[in-house]
Symmetry: C2
Subunit: 138 residues, 2 copies
Amino acid sequence: MKLDTLGRHILVEYYNCDEEILKNVELIQELMNEAARVAGATIVNSVFHHFNPWGVSGAVIISESHLTIHTWPEYGYAAVDLFTCGDTVNPWKGFDYLEKMLKSDRSESIEIPRGMTEKIKKYYPKPLEKIVFKPENN
Amino acid sequence: MKLDTLGRHILVEYYNCDEEILKNVELIQELMNEAARVAGATIVNSVFHHFNPWGVSGAVIISESHLTIHTWPEYGYAAVDLFTCGDTVNPWKGFDYLEKMLKSDRSESIEIPRGMTEKIKKYYPKPLEKIVFKPENN
């Protein structure tokens, strides 16, 4: 079967990453933007922040939703989200890229559908025809 | 029992929201920033984008992680994430605020722990003592 959904969302826990990489806000921003490109996404904007004394948070807004990261260098841990919509992107390519570049030797992930079309239709007050993540030819 | 975790992440599907609100990027940015404040979070930065012909995407980076939103006005649907760390914030307050302000008459949510300390310790190569979401007195 195929589940009809606007998007899918991968929540990742990257354990035991390279601590120096997790501290470096410029590098993390570069890696997250590249992860978006590797996934096939179109980058709209991104915002990153370096916390004192360490740790980085940031988000990449893509036409197909977003990628976010929060790092704890002191524990070698990063929480990453890859939320993508549509068939032209593959968030797992971004996942693989980040696992390698953060040098995580162990990770765990969950994939959750977002915007299941049957439910959107069910709760919408009028009949909805075809549900697509973005207007076609746009 | 109490689960020891750096953070928690609420994934929300807001169904059948007010379509005019979902189209309005300035308003959505304002509501998302206010949701962060209502949750007790400290806002670091935010970035929002209005897609042609409609739909809004955005992220609010907070000291305690992030809030994001993606809207589909044509379906009355919004996908929201509220990811917070530490004991001083309550993402459910942000959830309630947004449900009301987006005029969603139905929503569904999942709450997922992020950064479970037992797993971080398990995979870290050296012994780790107390795991805290941010350095104390910082």
